[in-house]
Symmetry: C2
Subunit: 91 residues, 2 copies
């Protein structure tokens, strides 16, 4: 089965406050970076997985995100998927 | 001054263990996602900033990453930069 590399970007929904981001923004201002207007902190998750085909991989990643990797109430996610190795090259 | 939107991707260096990623991988296996081979968890930081030009924005972002946003001993980073609004459209 081919191996896929997924890059998952998890962000807080725009309506949700981000205290950590606000703290970082404040810290950057104190350090002299006065041009910083907003900081939002999310997660960047890299998943390597094998699946029968790309559609299956995408379906599984959606399930992983909904069930474990994100909190759908307060977070959004999107992911990029690339083929890392086909069954032939991996054999 | 134009406004820039930066997307910063912070990842653990490949040689650094990622216990959180390992725990998530184990959780995914328990949920039946047997095809998952590796999980690495990083940060995805969105920074909105104003700067005189793109070169200045990139220089400031490098400084922010080195001094506050990442731990250079154990983490790598890269960022994408897009123009959000020019001085004209922002005025």
């Amino acid at each position: 089965m081919p191996t896929y590399q997924a890059q998952i970007y998890v962000t807080l929904r725009p309506s949700v406050l981000d205290p950590a981001g606000t703290a970082v923004q404040s810290g950057l201002h104190h350090m002299g970076f006065d041009g910083v207007e907003q900081v939002r902190i999310g997660k960047y998750i890299q998943v390597t997985l094998t699946a029968e085909d790309e559609a299956t991989a995408r379906q599984q990643l959606d399930q992983m995100c909904d069930q474990l990797l994100t909190n759908p109430v307060i977070e959004n996610y999107r992911f990029d998927l690339t083929v890392k190795a086909t069954a032939d090259t991996a054999a």
